[in-house]
Amino acid sequence: MKRIYLDYAATTPVHPDVAAAMQPYFSEKFGNPSSLHSFGQEARRAVEKAREDVAALIGALPEEIIFTSGGTEANNFALNGVAYANEKKGNKIITTAIEHHAILEPCHFLKTRGFEITCLPVDKFGLIDPELVWHSITEKTILVSVMHANNEIGTVEPIAEIGARVKRQGAGKISFHTDAVQTVGMLPIDVNKLGVDLLSMSAHKLYGPKGVGALYVRKGTRLNPFLRGGGQERNRRASTENVPGIVGFGQACVMAAQRLASDDNRIKLLRDRLLAGIMKNIPDVVLNGHPNLRLDKNLNISVKYVEGEALLLNLDFEGIAVSTGSACSSGTLDPSHVLLAIGLPHELAHGSIRFTLGHWTTAEEIDRVIAVFPKIVEKLRQMSPLKK
């Protein structure tokens, strides 16, 4: 059975061209970029080339890119780094209820260290109201962090609008961060148009390797180091650089820029076809997230009367890989905080399924899902005490 991967928001395969770019840096050009000799310097050049490629994708300067071990480190770095660098100026951090755990958990930690966290609500589509950000800012606010697009429901937030307001209100005093892990390489991004001071990325979401990411830091932004040690990344992020990973990230960014320039809407059309096919064949299904202001690749639905993990496992029996916002994927009993934040009742939150499409998704795959999914839903509904 040919397996069908529809979980591109969880991670993506490394593109073969990316893998090829990385290949020489494992066993041949293996030097440590901090080494002064030729082995070190050829690694150094590769890292700096990748830095340019990553910067170019988001309209940044190369020296504004700090490589990290992924999106989580970029987020932890941004939050801790800005908080500690500005603690004399203020202690208030504004964020939202639908952020990734890699934002919420560091915020939770900072709360135990004397910082105050304001967690803004969202509307039923998962949208943040820029007015609300604006009104939440006080004299003590040092940082605003709002994600660019949500990883579960795909809603794209009005970052540029928020950025403009934060700047007007707190120019030079408040740093504005966005977690763009889900959007880098998917949406055109220009850090200046977005008005952000910091932006988090992770290579494995855009056909690059796992274990590498970056934090964009606008020149002049006060930021303390997070990983401390040797003087790598201009003393901002210690540890021997993951050279092959960084090279792969750079190559992934070059390729993403090409895709974005081509203005291809193939993935969106497939996603819409999947949505239409499901809605036509299965009653009592609701769409989660915004109908239009969402990532092209993302489809998140709740299937009434059934539970998400049970759906997921049955799809997996058919070779179809998806994700769920039900408790069961997270190791806790609570369903996704994002689905609860958009006001979904627990029952529906437990019945959510996320399909995320990508580069290798085909129409045949989508049609197979459209054919298979109703039977699975039907089987589980027959088992459900909720379905009358």
Partner: protein, 141 residues
């Protein structure tokens, strides 16, 4: 995590035994709630103190369905007294174990069965199970 489900769990999830309703059930028990993401409803038919038939309906994850299936299998044909001895551990053991975060499902299955027996006893003797309430508080939120 589902990834650490045993083959037995996957078997009972994929081909659950005793799914359905018993229209003229002698006892019906329902436990769990949508907040937890698990609801189990158990129907029993009792004759001469023996559980002659049992069916369930479950809204829940893989472990919830598998424990419902296994628990009903384990007490089918047993006396009420034997059925009452069924512990959540026994259900989990019969499934070759459950991931720690899923142990609450076995508790729910035990409760669902006790709840159905309680209902049967109330209906047949006017007195329910003594000293028993569901674990809802414990495994709930």
């Amino acid at each position: 995590m589902a990834g650490s489900y045993s083959d037995k769990v996957m078997d009972h999830f994929r081909n659950p035994r005793n799914v359905g309703e018993i229209p003229d059930a002698d006892g019906i028990g329902q436990v769990g709630n949508p907040v937890c993401g698990d609801i189990m409803k158990v129907y029993i038919k009792v004759k001469d103190n023996i559980i002659t038939d049992i069916k369930f309906k479950t809204f829940g994850c893989g472990a919830a369905i598998a424990t419902s299936s296994m628990a009903t299998e384990l007490i089918k044909g047993k006396t009420i007294e034997e059925a009452l001895k069924l512990t959540n551990r026994a259900v989990a053991d019969a499934l070759d174990g459950l991931p720690p975060v899923k142990m609450h499902c076995s508790v729910l299955a035990e409760d669902a069965i006790k709840s159905a027996i309680d209902d049967y006893l109330k209906k047949s003797t006017g007195v329910g199970l003594q000293g028993w309430t569901t674990h809802n508080e414990e495994h709930g939120h």
